[in-house]
């Protein structure tokens, strides 16, 4: 064991985003506690957005800083803290940006549209987003199973509370309980798998695990399978991959809509971050090709199942949140595809594929949920028929929603389309045609799902008269999401170029 290494002030600089979030969280908690009850808690929401923005600024700063450092010496492009238990690199940095941005938009969209009647604990509701985002950030930045686990639980426990935030509604509590039990069991599975991984390799540092696994396969073939399958199962539950997905619809339905979109985007993204870290650093190094192939095959199968079940399930769903939950199942299946593709000399861009689609997915989902929030707020109806005649009531919102839906459906020219296209190109480059076929087929079937919204919005006449009132922050975030979705479709170059400029498998996944 190396010499005792403690945190230093220079490390604090690397941890600045995390520290910012923690400080904001604590400060806002105190503020909420001591301020009179009758004050509207919206300003806490604004402060939450501020905190997220500040953290994001730090992340960007760090990314740029390290990129500059990395140009001379690639090994300076990342930074290990405390013997690798925490790792500041471009993988984490990019994902943190996604998480912070997504959380920011979610809070923004919820400002003005979340009512105290629904969410009595409005203060908590806003500032608990901070520790949740913190958990997600930790998950994307960990180099150690323990840190990963703690980050995961920080995120999970916070979201358990957030899901239950509609205290007056029985379904919110039910959803929270279901989420808690599922999440707890999933954690147990992940942990159980991790414990075997630790047992086999004698370390919890994922880089060292990778090194050790190379030789371990001789003696522990079955245990390696068990370890990874248990973790896969746990992550599949967290990610809601079929057949581990059934909780998602219930929980999404019961949770307050902003939390639903947080679950759909940030929680999912963070679980992906963790999965990518673990698989890229450990499973990839299993020396037995058959075993290695099987581990990835397990993910592929789950991905396929998720795409099929998610899409088909959404076909028959009328409740929009459940529908989007199932769409999230299918999208999780898609997001996992890049990971399952082999790295070959012609295909190394799995991270760009993943993160690009994740960004697109984040925008389109947040946008869709934001629209749902305002629509449901107007009609009190969270089913598809709540969208009936939306075009007549709010043509621009309907148009924006149409763009988001096209993106979800993967129709050109949107971020969702290009994201899927890159992933597809990856599958084709690595000759995994069956997965490509399933991706395409389910995408097409999903047209029927997403266009059922369009049918409602444009082809039915709703019962409600008059316009739709859209609070400014919600409208803002909807339009930012729509604009971003379109921009990602038309001009993906800046984003992709940036990712490509920053990210390198060699240094951001593997190098210690």
């Amino acid at each position: 064991m190396e010499a005792v290494q403690t945190l230093t002030w220079s490390d604090a600089w690397y941890l600045s985003p995390e520290i910012t979030l923690s400080l904001f969280a604590v400060a806002l908690a105190c503020l909420d506690l001591f301020l009179p009850k009758r004050w509207n808690r919206n300003f806490i929401g604004w402060l939450t957005v501020l905190g997220l923005a500040v953290a994001a600024a730090f992340v960007v700063w760090l990314l740029i800083d390290m990129k500059n450092a990395g140009t001379e010496d690639p090994t300076a492009g990342f930074h290990n803290l405390l013997g690798g238990s925490y790792r500041i690199d471009d993988f984490g940095g990019l994902l943190k940006l996604v998480f912070l941005g997504a959380s920011g938009f979610i809070v923004l969209a919820s400002l003005g549209s979340v009512r105290s009647k629904d969410v009595p604990i409005k203060g908590e509701f806003y500032y608990l987003m901070l520790p949740a985002a913190l958990g997600a950030m930790v998950m994307s930045s960990s180099g150690d199973l323990i840190t990963l686990y703690v980050g995961l639980e920080l995120l999970s426990i916070t979201t358990y509370v957030l899901v239950g935030a509609r205290k007056n509604s029985g379904i919110s509590g039910e959803a929270a309980f279901k989420y808690l039990v599922t999440g707890g069991a999933a954690s147990a599975f992940i942990l159980y798998g991790m414990s075997f991984l630790y047992g086999i390799t004698g370390t919890t540092n994922i880089f060292m695990i990778g090194n050790a696994l190379g030789d371990a396969v001789e003696s522990y073939r079955a245990l390696i399978y068990v370890a990874f399958f248990l973790m896969t199962a746990g992550f599949a539950m967290k990610l809601a991959l079929a057949p581990f997905h059934a909780w998602a619809a219930d929980v999404y339905q019961g949770a307050p809509t902003p939390v639903t979109s947080f679950l759909a985007v940030v929680s999912k993204g963070a679980a992906f971050a963790m999965l990518y870290r673990i698989f890229m650093n450990s499973a990839y190094f299993v020396q037995d090709p058959a075993v290695q192939k099987d581990l990835y095959l397990g993910l592929s199968v789950l991905s396929a199942a998720a795409m099929i079940v998610g899409t088909a399930g959404a076909l028959r769903q009328r409740n929009v949140k459940r529908l989007l939950a199932l769409s999230g199942v299918a999208n999780a299946g898609i997001l996992i595809i890049p990971l399952t593709l082999h790295l070959t000399p012609v295909h190394t861009s799995l991270f760009s594929e993943f993160v690009y689609y994740l960004i697109a997915y984040a925008f389109m989902n947040i946008g869709a949920f934001a629209v749902l929030t305002v629509v449901a707020r107007g009609s009190g109806d969270e089913t598809l028929s709540g969208f009936a005649g939306l075009y007549h009531r709010a043509p621009w919102t309907a148009a924006g929603m149409t763009v988001l839906l096209c993106s979800l459906a993967g129709l050109p020219v949107t971020g969702g389309f290009l994201g899927k296209l890159f992933i597809l190109f990856g599958t084709v480059q690595t000759h995994i045609y069956w997965l490509a076929a399933i991706l395409l087929a389910t995408t097409v079937v999903s047209y029927a799902v997403y266009f059922s919204f369009i049918r409602q919005m444009y082809m039915r006449s709703g019962t409600l008269e008059g316009g739709l009132r859209i609070p400014f922050p919600a409208g803002l975030s909807i339009w930012i999401c729509v604009a971003a979705t379109l921009a990602l479709g038309f001009l993906p170059k800046p984003v992709l170029g940036w990712i490509d400029g920053l990210f390198s498998i060699q240094y951001d996944f593997w190098a210690q």
């Binding site: 945190l7 941890l15 238990s85 009647k117 913190l134 150690d144 703690v150 073939r221």
Partner: protein
Amino acid sequence: MSFNIDWTGEFIAFFALAVCAIVGAVMALNFTKVVHMALSLAFTFVSLAGLYVVLDAEFVAFVQVLLYVGAVTILMIFGIMMTKHQDEGQEAARPLLETLAAIGCLCLLAILIFAIRDADFPDPAGSLPADTTREIGKLLFARMAIPFELVSVLLTVAFIGAVALAKREEEPK
């Protein structure tokens, strides 16, 4: 592998405690009164603490007793009290669910045991440091500082969250 069991002291201790743990767990599933279940599980937790001692993890064992027996189980019993149970004992059977769950769990168990037996564990290449508690402390503040700090955030959040959720809201007029 064969069953040529080496009846060392450790094994005897292990065997006794393992039996206790399993019995506690199994009984917990079989009791009809919720309180009994909880207590039976507490018994399992205690047995596990004993096993930790056998495994040279005294500090962990201590924490186990403190946390599980002292906190979690009590918390659960509080929970049981707060949610007033009058309906235990009349659980309608769900045979299909139970059968399938049993089959599933047994399959999983079989897989796990197969994997464990399939593994070829070498002799340990070293041994634990003598004073594990001190080592734990050192490590917690050095390499594990970040998760440690995070756990503090986590506990705060859990605390706030639990309070926020459990406290009764005054009805909005």
